[in-house]
């Protein structure tokens, strides 16, 4: 009985098309945003803000980007980390070379360059799909990282390849403390998530889904295949690029190619599998799960250590983590192929009826 929709009537088209048509959902969402914007920065401690919540938000954004491409438009990509790297390095270069550019402008340039790269590597998607496409994006992953490593222009000819990110200043306010970085990230992520949600409800989003479900059929009913697919690649890469810039500037504080290896691509892919393919909420749930789970596991292993009095070495812990991690992915796929987002939906359905069986 937590959900009571009785008595909520929709009398205009506007009401019918709201993102959250039910009052409780709206209230919950506003409360959540309030907590995120006000309570978390005030009460959260430094470590949690800088090492857990900020990367969680950034990775959510990357997962969102991949979800647009894989979940909505049905194009499997393993090049997420490469797009993120493009975003990070181009944002760095924009700040370096264009005087007086605002930080958000630099992030946007990072995103746009990533989108351009995305379009180039999305071209093969016009002829191939599925696994073949995965390999094509894998090429992107290796090629982009090699290029960034090789061409000195990207890293401003720094000898070590690791560059410190510039200071971020907006309207004279400098973002240094974890809380302010968190708020910057949160602002960007919220705005972009809202944009993604609305985009997916629009004609473009429906075209993406038609292509995902069956591209031949979509082409037959008159959806321009080339434009739709490339647009999906561009938008997705833009999201990943911005996420990459945030990752470098707000989380790592350095810009380096090593942060964007293939492993990161896989992690983002796991986020959308576990969270739910083709769902905005799922991107966030998946990112939360993947960032929080290792911490939980670490906690448990520490507890076990003290309880049993055995010393566990680092390699053992990380290997066990990998096993449990892989096992969980398989488990999720078997139990609920549609991910956490679907579980949340089922839970909501149950709560509507509770405590009655029907």
């Amino acid at each position: 009985m937590l959900y009571r929709e009785a008595g909520q009537f929709k009398s205009t088209y506007g009401q019918d098309q709201q993102i959250f048509p039910i009052l409780q959902d709206r209230v919950a969402m506003i409360a959540l945003l309030l907590v995120a914007f006000v309570a978390v920065p005030i009460f959260g401690d430094q470590y949690w803000l800088s090492a857990i919540i900020t990367p969680f938000l950034i990775l959510s954004l990357a997962a969102l980007g991949l979800n647009i491409l894989t979940g909505y438009a049905g194009q499997l990509s393993l090049g997420t980390a490469a797009f993120m790297a493009v975003g990070a390095f181009m944002a760095y270069n924009a700040m370096l070379r264009i005087p007086h550019i605002p930080v958000l402008g630099a992030f946007a340039i990072g995103g746009l360059s990533a989108a351009a790269v995305g379009i180039v590597f999305g071209l093969p998607s016009l002829r191939i799909k599925g696994l073949y496409l995965a390999v094509a994006t894998l090429a992107c992953q290796f090629f982009v990282l090699w290029l960034i490593n090789r061409v000195g222009w990207f890293s401003n000819h720094s000898s070590s390849g690791v560059i410190t990110a510039q200071r971020m200043v907006i309207l004279g306010y400098e973002f240094v403390s974890p809380a302010s970085k968190y708020l910057l990230t949160l602002g960007v992520v919220t705005a972009m998530a809202l944009a993604a949600k609305n985009l997916m409800r629009s004609e473009t989003g429906r075209a993406f889904m038609a292509v995902r479900d069956m591209d031949v059929a979509a082409a037959v009913v008159g959806i321009p295949m080339m434009r739709t697919k490339l647009l999906a690649f561009a938008i997705s890469s833009f999201y990943c690029g911005v996420a990459g810039a945030l990752y470098a500037f707000c989380y790592l504080g350095t810009v380096e190619p090593e942060a964007f290896v293939l492993d990161l691509s896989f992690r983002v892919l796991f986020m959308i599998i576990i969270g739910g393919v083709g769902s905005i909420l799922g991107s966030f749930l998946g990112a939360a799960f993947i960032t929080l789970f290792p911490i939980l596991l670490n906690f448990v292993s520490k507890g076990l250590e003290s309880a049993l009095g055995v010393e566990m070495n680092h390699a053992m812990v990380s290997n066990t983590e990998a096993i449990i991690f892989g096992g969980l992915i398989i488990f999720f796929l078997i139990v609920e192929p549609n991910g956490l987002a679907r579980m949340w939906q089922i839970a909501k359905e149950k709560l509507r009826l509770w405590p009655f069986p029907h």
Binding site: P124, N319, F325, G326
Partner: protein
């Protein structure tokens, strides 16, 4: 060499329509098991037999635990499941056998054959020749298995359509168990060959990623394609490193194969020997 790894991929793809991302870690796992047994002073053949048994059991377990509950799921789900399997295998093998690199010696020296280099001035490593022989042998055996036997026919039926195969009475479980076990054996052979060349270490799993462009060149469904693709990729990669590499600053070996595959895809999306699919609405 790449061909050997690619063979395992083709095998599973051909027989179950699943793209087995875990093949690389299976190679790693097999090689590591084998090496560790040898290092504990086991006899060569005994270690080989035990490792084979382990790989077969592994294949059976995979089928039982991972694949059976996922019958009739879209291929992408199955692919993700094998990625999960990759993590489990990598973690497991390093947990059990430790993560330091091992050397492996099969008793065949990696030196050029003398009379060849004297006579025609070509140097072919004795070991490479041996690896090529093994690969050829495996292909021959597998080709016979696929084309001539009952099991082979059943395998191809399963790959075409799970449900239809079940409907005409093909025991899907058994077939998959067999395929995964065979793929495990191929993984062992590949792992041994690579292990001799580069040592048995974590980097083996990356080698497996290199098998992807091989597959693309050769076509996912073709065993012969895997061999030809392996040769093309292996050769072009090395040649590119030598001739184009210095022009752009070297290090292109890491991505050249993928770009070759990518360009190839634009011209012929189904690979050299792949089957052409026609989409119907």
């Amino acid at each position: 060499m790449y061909a050997l790894v690619a063979l395992g991929f083709v095998l599973i793809y051909k027989a179950s329509g699943v793209f087995n991302f875990a093949q690389g870690s299976m190679v790693f796992f097999a090689a590591l098991t084998f090496v560790s047994l040898l290092e504990r002073g086991w006899n060569f053949w005994l270690a080989l037999a035990v490792t084979l048994a382990v790989m077969v059991v592994l294949g059976m377990l995979t089928e039982r635990i991972v694949l059976r509950p996922l019958i009739n799921q879209p291929p992408i789900t199955l692919l993700m499941a094998t990625i999960g399997l990759t993590f489990v295998l990598e973690g497991l093998s390093q947990l059990v056998f430790g993560s330091q690199p091992h050397g492996l010696e099969l008793g065949i020296a990696d030196v050029p054959i003398e009379w060849l280099s004297e006579k025609w001035n070509i140097s072919i490593s004795q070991f490479d020749l041996f690896a090529a022989l093994i690969a050829g042998l495996l292909v021959a055996v597998l080709a016979v298995l696929f084309q001539k036997t009952r099991i082979g026919r059943a395998l191809r039926a399963v790959a075409d359509d799970h449900q239809a195969a079940l409907a005409v009475g093909i025991p899907l479980q058994h077939i998959w168990t067999i395929v995964w076990a065979v793929a495990g054996c191929v993984a062992l052979v590949a792992g041994m060959m690579w292990g001799v060349r580069n040592g048995v270490q974590y980097a083996l799993t990356f080698t497996a990623l290199k098998a992807l462009p091989v597959l693309i060149l050769g076509g996912f469904e073709s065993i012969a394609g895997a061999i030809v693709g392996g040769l093309i990729i292996g050769a072009s990669e090395k040649l590119a490193e030598v001739y184009i590499g210095p022009m752009v600053g070297g290090g292109i070996e890491s991505w050249f194969a993928y770009v070759v595959a990518l360009l190839f895809l634009l011209v012929r999306p189904e690979g050299l020997f792949g089957e052409k699919h026609i989409d119907r609405v």
